[in-house]
């Protein structure tokens, strides 16, 4: 019997190399792609780069992590200085563009952040070396797989999508080399965020993702895109400013040895609560929680792969990742509950807004914000069960939502619209893509599929949380999940509303797009079937490591029932279809005056095509009004949080 820790010691060198490799490697394709003009070569580089990132992250997951978090110090003395220089360069660039666009608020925030982080570096320059730079455990390995695998798949999808994008938008300048280079730069930064132990490192990568997001949102370079890109930048900078403040606070109070995430959490709420809350504010901005949420909705002007990669599956997850990291600090704290309430209110309000949207990408955007809200709520509650739910939400949301974004992107290029109303009867004209979309949607809200398990676990967790906050969160969740059912189900219904069988138009879909859609569909299904092993081998060890021994989360028997239900959904239609299908197809009943299927006879013999539109309930759930009230409530909650922080976290 070999001690598990012994194995990890043997692997330590491999680990540090692998982590650095994952952070540094994407820069190579990024550099190559900047200069590469040939489209075929670009395809090869992107595919190879994405493949290597994916393999690297899977390798990390496959290595035995042992029972502890692993910390590493990168043996490169000048690296802090390099980062500082790069930060100054980024700040310089942002100052330049913002001054040019007369966005002086942004200039102000960039300079403020530079000042703060400069102060922090100056204060903590000596203590720096003591803090390990990198860490890895199951949680960051899961995040790495999401970034590597899903990010890689989306990069490959972007190859086909962007070619068509420029065929559809001939007026736009073709800046694809830069586009793909930024995508890979972004992957590198994301790996950096999830592997950082040193908060200064994390902050650096955090800012790089903000920069990438800004650059990619303004890719279409029209007035709307530029405005929205600046809005995204501004909101992320406002939140981001809290990050260096947290670092400064740690340096002034606890000393630089708490600058590492591991030691900070270990120090307990007395020291960690204030910085954790500050970082949570930064995370809320990054994860587009109310009142910051409008930047993410605006970001939908970017090409769809960008929305899928940055604004649903990875970058916005960096925010919730940071909050979830500090979940143990929030456990049982009122300030944690305030953060949870911010997430909860965001979940409810944005779910309601999603009902009134018919633009598919906007529905996806709002539902992304809503799910991030739910993750924030779980992380804010901070109990082991809540964290379990949060991590599962992160996993399932990343997979299902990127599948949905990509299939919407594919449909958009065939149908020429991203409106859900234009997807009527898509099951006939694009059966395979529709099936994938249905699987993706089912993954978002239906019982045996992924997200619902997390919702279930969060109800369990909230019911044990600090009263009465836990119960308030449950009431929010009860309404929010009802609303969620509404907008997803009506979308599914729209896809199935088949008038007549038309010829499939799926042959137009490029190989690169299939190469992304099929694996993502497979991943959605595999993840649903694999809940039990994911829980046992990845999440529970992480929770045990973070919290010590934990009670049983979701009883295994219930997981078995879920799997059976999933199997039923797959098996029953196949088994029963022969027995059930109608012997004879009749026309639809249309009051007796149907002249032909789908046609209705009007006055003086006029024949009219019926058109069916879904309910959008704009009067009940007006977008503007709801965001206004939602923002008001969350701003009040943020004020409570700040007051709590200023009074020293003793609230």
């Amino acid at each position: 019997m070999i001690d598990a820790n012994l194995i990890t010691v043997m692997y330590v060198d491999l680990y540090v190399e692998l982590l650095l490799f994952l952070i540094m490697f994407p820069l190579i394709p990024a550099l190559i792609l900047t200069v590469l003009r040939n489209e075929n070569l670009r395809g090869i580089v992107v595919t190879a780069g994405a493949g290597i990132c994916a393999l690297g992250s899977i390798l990390l997951l496959a290595l035995p992590v042992g029972q502890n978090q692993l910390f590493f110090t990168v043996p490169a003395p000048g690296i802090a200085l390099v980062m500082l220089v790069l930060e100054i360069l980024i700040a310089g660039y942002l100052v330049m563009v913002s001054v040019k666009a007369k966005q002086f608020l942004i200039t102000g925030f960039v300079l403020l952040q530079l000042l703060l982080i400069g102060g922090a570096e100056w204060l903590g320059l000596e203590g720096h070396a003591k803090v390990p730079d990198l860490l890895t455990d199951e949680f960051s390995a899961i995040m790495a797989v999401i970034i590597g695998v899903i990010g890689g798949i989306i990069c490959i999808y972007a190859l086909g999508y962007m070619r068509e994008y420029h065929e559809h938008h001939k007026d736009l300048p073709d800046k694809r080399p830069k586009f793909f280079a930024i995508l890979f730069l972004f992957l590198s930064a994301m790996f950096g965020v999830v592997f950082s132990n040193n908060l200064i490192w994390m902050y650096f990568f955090w800012e790089v993702t903000t920069l990438c997001s800004y650059l990619l949102i303004r890719y279409p370079e029209n007035g709307e895109a530029v405005t929205n890109a600046f809005r995204a930048l501004l909101y992320n900078l406002i939140g981001g400013a809290c990050f260096p403040i947290a670092i400064l606070y740690i340096l002034m109070n606890g000393g630089s040895e708490h600058l590492g995430i591991g030691s900070l959490i270990a120090a307990g709420p007395a020291i960690a609560l204030v910085p954790a809350c500050l970082i949570a504010i930064a995370g809320c901005a990054k994860s587009a929680q109310l009142p910051f949420s409008s930047w993410l909705v605006g970001a939908m002007v970017a090409p769809t792969p960008v929305s899928a990669l940055l604004h649903s599956s990875t970058m916005v997850k960096a925010g919730v990742y940071a909050i979830a990291r500090f979940a143990p600090v929030f456990d049982g704290q009122i300030l944690g509950m305030v953060i949870a309430l911010i997430g909860g209110v965001t979940f409810l309000v944005t779910s309601c807004i999603a009902i009134s949207q018919s633009n598919a990408k906007k529905v996806l955007a709002y539902s992304t914000i809503a799910n991030l809200g739910l993750i924030v709520a779980c992380a804010g509650v901070g109990t082991p069960e809540a964290l379990w739910a949060a991590i599962f939400l992160i996993i399932f949301h990343a997979i299902s939502k990127s599948l949905l974004f990509l299939s919407v992107g594919t449909v958009e290029h065939r149908v020429g619209s991203r409106d859900i109303e234009d997807m009527t009867g898509l099951a006939a004209s694009m059966p395979k893509v529709s099936l994938m979309m249905l699987i993706g949607i089912a993954g978002m809200f239906l019982a045996p599929f992924g997200m619902l398990i997390s919702k279930w676990a969060s109800i369990h967790a909230f019911s044990q949380a600090l009263p009465p906050f836990g119960m308030i969160l449950i009431v929010i969740l009860a309404y929010g999940s009802a609303v969620t059912v509404f907008f997803w189900a009506k979308w599914m219904g729209k896809l199935l509303e088949v008038r007549k069988w038309e010829e499939s138009i799926e042959f137009q879909i490029s190989r690169a797009e299939w190469a992304a859609l099929i694996p993502l569909t497979a991943l959605t299904i595999i993840a649903c079937f694999g809940i039990a092993p994911i829980s046992t081998y990845l999440i529970e060890p992480f929770l045990v490591m973070t919290y010590g021994p934990i009670s049983e989360l979701i009883p295994a028997s219930n997981l078995m029932i879920m799997l059976l239900m999933l199997a039923l959904i797959v098996v029953l239609p196949v088994l029963m279809v022969k027995i059930l299908i109608p012997r004879r197809n009749l026309r639809r009943y249309m009051g007796g005056v149907t002249v032909h299927d789908g046609l209705m006879e009007g006055s003086i013999g006029m024949k009219r095509e019926i058109s069916l539109s879904n309910l959008y309930l704009e009067d009940l759930f007006p977008e503007a009004g709801l965001s206004k009230y939602g923002s008001l409530i969350t701003i009040v909650l943020f004020c409570v949080l700040l007051i709590g922080l200023i009074s020293g976290g003793v609230l």
Partner: protein, 147 residues
Amino acid sequence: MAYLSKSPWILHYDASSCNGCDIEILACLTPRYDVERFGIINTGNPKHADILVITGGVNEQNRSVIQNLYDQMPHPKVVVGVGICACTGGIFKECYNIAGGVGEILPVDVWVPGCAARPEQIIDGIVKALGILEQKRADMSRAEAGA
């Protein structure tokens, strides 16, 4: 296994009746006659109906409508013509727009003459139709077994 005759759901269509027979049909649903005692329900939907009850003569405008309703009913099904107009066109027979009785376009199984047909008569006609319905079901299952 004769459940069909214990739960006959009807579809009532007013072709071009003067409403006299229609009122009598609706009277059958009232507490006085209460045909729900026999499991009869007045559905509004040919997809759910077993018996098509038509009042009034067929006119040129609703020819296709009647045909359509009949076609949309699943087998086995029967047609009951209620009132003299449904049988022959009645006093409207010679009108320029009247094609005649329902028999002009549909295979009517039971005729219930009268102007207006009395509720007792209508119920009696429906009960007669039930026998034919059962017969058709038996034929249908025999045909299915044979095929």
